[in-house]
Symmetry: C2
Subunit: 423 residues, 2 copies
């Protein structure tokens, strides 16, 4: 490991993004590789939420709706838009990722009404599949959900895409970067395949935005959803976003009619008239505290630049894979992410028969070892989420050394097999 540590120190010295770590609240006893699940707290967010609570709510009270809150999501839309390669008037911010997916799936199936096949994949985040299952069961009742199958357990190959997507396909919905293996699709190619077959396509960007360049307009994507609490560092359960390409906005309809999607909500008219803008996908009053908290994280990302972040992430994940190959494979680990950088996002999954207990030991060391926080996904994946904004090369070495140690000393045997509620 010594050579790797030396190399890591050199790489950290050369890293032009290393100072961005100072924008976050850090604990020197903790190495955090779970920014793909809940991003760190930007220091500036403390200021923003304090002002929001004490000044905007406490002092200005209802007046803040006109002074700050009605425009808040529009202001944030611009920032999200530039992260995902879209126009500000193509982005709505609010609600949860699942709910936004529900709105768009409904809209797409209603608009593409003469076709009855929906395509997703077996690598998708399960809740996206639940949304599709519920949509078919509760609202349409004549569609079939086809899942693209993975041959290697990690990726979906081109043949499978070509053989499954057909002129019968009404809608394709996929995660751009999959949650477990980190497999990343070729967005442009799949969009072309969708459009060639007159299918709509919806991308879930949750595991991609903020870590991987996303080019919705350039790749001609129809629709997308994504969360803001992972690489965007927006806070626990922060509001999600939704994208609809400009030329589709007229024909796509939100199934949930409510005042925040009304053309003139404060006329209190008894009849619904949908907004013409992307705001037509709104529902109820936005959760202002959670919404305001996402801005500092967006500013940091835009400042660092998404292509710089991607370059560092690729360099880090490549370095990590080399470490894993040389240090962990001999200990019974396997790599559960694609090796080729172009085929993956910013997290790396590794598997071990004792994966769950190893992950527990990393988080709760029995001695004065640093706390290392990855997460665990069944059946035996440890996910190491690299957040290039605040993770260093040295932390990668420390993590691998610690895992080796846990396995060699069987420290994991201190933990039971029963799962915590959130893993």
């Amino acid at each position: 490991m010594e050579t790797y540590f030396k190399e890591a120190i050199e790489l950290d010295k050369k890293d032009k993004l290393s100072h961005f770590k100072n924008h976050f609240v850090n604990d020197e006893q903790v190495i955090y590789f779970d920014g793909n699940s809940l991003g760190k707290l930007p220091k500036k967010t403390i200021e923003v939420t304090t002002d929001l609570v004490q000044n905007q709510w406490g002092n200005r009270l209802i007046r803040s709706w006109n002074e700050n809150w009605m425009d808040l999501s529009f202001k944030l839309s611009k920032k999200i838009a530039s992260l995902v390669g879209a126009q500000p008037d193509e982005i709505f911010i609010g609600d949860s990722t699942s709910l936004n997916l529900y709105k768009l799936v409904f809209a797409a199936l209603k608009a593409n009404k003469d076709k009855f096949e929906v395509v997703s994949d077996s690598l998708n985040f399960p809740t996206d599949l639940y949304v599709l299952q519920g949509m078919i069961e509760n609202h349409f009742n004549k569609h079939t959900l086809k899942l693209l199958n993975t041959k290697d357990g990690l990726t979906i190959d081109n043949d499978t895409l070509q053989n499954t997507i057909s002129a019968k396909t009404a809608l394709i919905t996929l995660s751009y970067v999959t949650y477990k293996s980190s497999f990343k699709y070729n967005m442009k190619q799949v969009n072309e395949l969708a459009h060639k077959n007159n299918s709509f396509i919806i991308w879930d960007l949750s595991h991609a935005t903020g870590a991987v360049p996303v080019k919705l307009n350039e790749s001609n994507a129809d629709m997308a959803v994504g969360c803001t609490y992972k690489y965007l560092n927006g806070g626990p359960g922060s509001p999600a976003f939704l994208y609809v390409k400009k030329e589709l906005q007229q024909q796509l309809l939100n199934p949930i009619w409510s005042w925040f999607s009304h053309k003139k909500p404060f006329d209190f008219d008894l009849n619904y008239k949908a907004s013409n803008s992307i705001q037509k996908f709104g529902i109820g009053t936005p959760s202002i505290l959670s919404l305001a908290a996402i801005e500092p994280g967006l500013d940091i990302l835009l400042d660092a630049g998404i292509s710089n972040l991607r370059a560092k992430s690729v360099q880090q994940s490549t370095f990590l894979l080399e470490l894993i190959e040389n240090e962990l494979l001999p200990l019974g680990f396997t790599i559960a992410s694609p090796i080729e950088a172009e085929l993956r996002g910013s997290h790396i999954s590794i598997q071990h028969a004792e994966g769950y207990r190893i992950n527990r030991a990393m988080i709760a060391p029995k001695d004065d070892s640093k706390i290392i926080i990855p997460d665990f996904r069944p059946p035996n994946n440890i996910r190491l989420g690299i957040a290039p904004l605040y993770n260093s090369f040295t932390e990668l070495c420390e993590t691998i050394e610690r895992i080796k140690n846990i396995v060699l000393t069987k420290e994991y045997e201190n933990f039971g097999l029963e799962k915590l509620e959130v893993t």
Copy 2:
């Protein structure tokens, strides 16, 4: 006015709830009668949100899901339950009021599938009607929405209820306290009428909870929704709640399938299995910042006691009506709320041809008069929301005196007729 001021000072002295005002952030230059739109900031909420952001998110990061956040909504459910006369396992907290109404309307129409009339009223908050209109248009397409008509513009009488609700009625959805006139239904009586006709009933409690005793179990209500940012003082756009009576929970189904309503979300199973509990009405990851902020407001209400609050609210609104009758009617105002206390909630609406500009002048005085914040609802209603937790009798006198002054000096002529975005 002098006699009224004297009386008010006496009443304030005798008021056993007056010290509760100290639990809130107050500005002595502002009289706030808009707690029925956005409640004040409890001082304790500053502590709670600071701890949430800096400690739970900043320091504990992802570990907080197991340590605090997974149980948060259950903990709050108990408190909401005791405010609305329900059991904790009948309350789900999360999402917006409109979205919760959407879930329940869908569930009710699906369960009561052989009847095709939906009843609401023309006094209802428009977004509730939008939800119904969208539901019929997008999902069912064979229902008729019938609106109970008001004869006096303020209330719905018994004859109208009896003549409109019939064996054809599948669902009734009403605001317990209506947003404009403050009319309050007899919940028990309407529930009986609904059940006699084999109809479901959903109550919107937004303008009632925290100001009026709500007895969901005792009155045998089927379902309810409500917001937490008005009399509950939960903060701008804070999460809403939803109630489903225990014996209906099995048959009623959430149309939006997602991981937070799954039986075992962290198994990441590819197939959806709905939770058996009230959590079946969840959708995506809850907005933790907004959710955590509602607890201090609930604690204050429970401490004050809802029947004490109602008693004070009735005393205050009766006093206010007397003031209005004697001081404002001669100036061209009319009362747009029921006179009988039993028929109204905690806000009083008054109308004046110059209502909008008078309301603007109250909020933005040109001299050193106190800022008085009511709100405005078209066409010409000024709403005075009495929050018995922090409003005094003296403030009522000051408000009426100020309104008189604005009208007599025509101070409102300083303002234009064009409306602000949020009124």
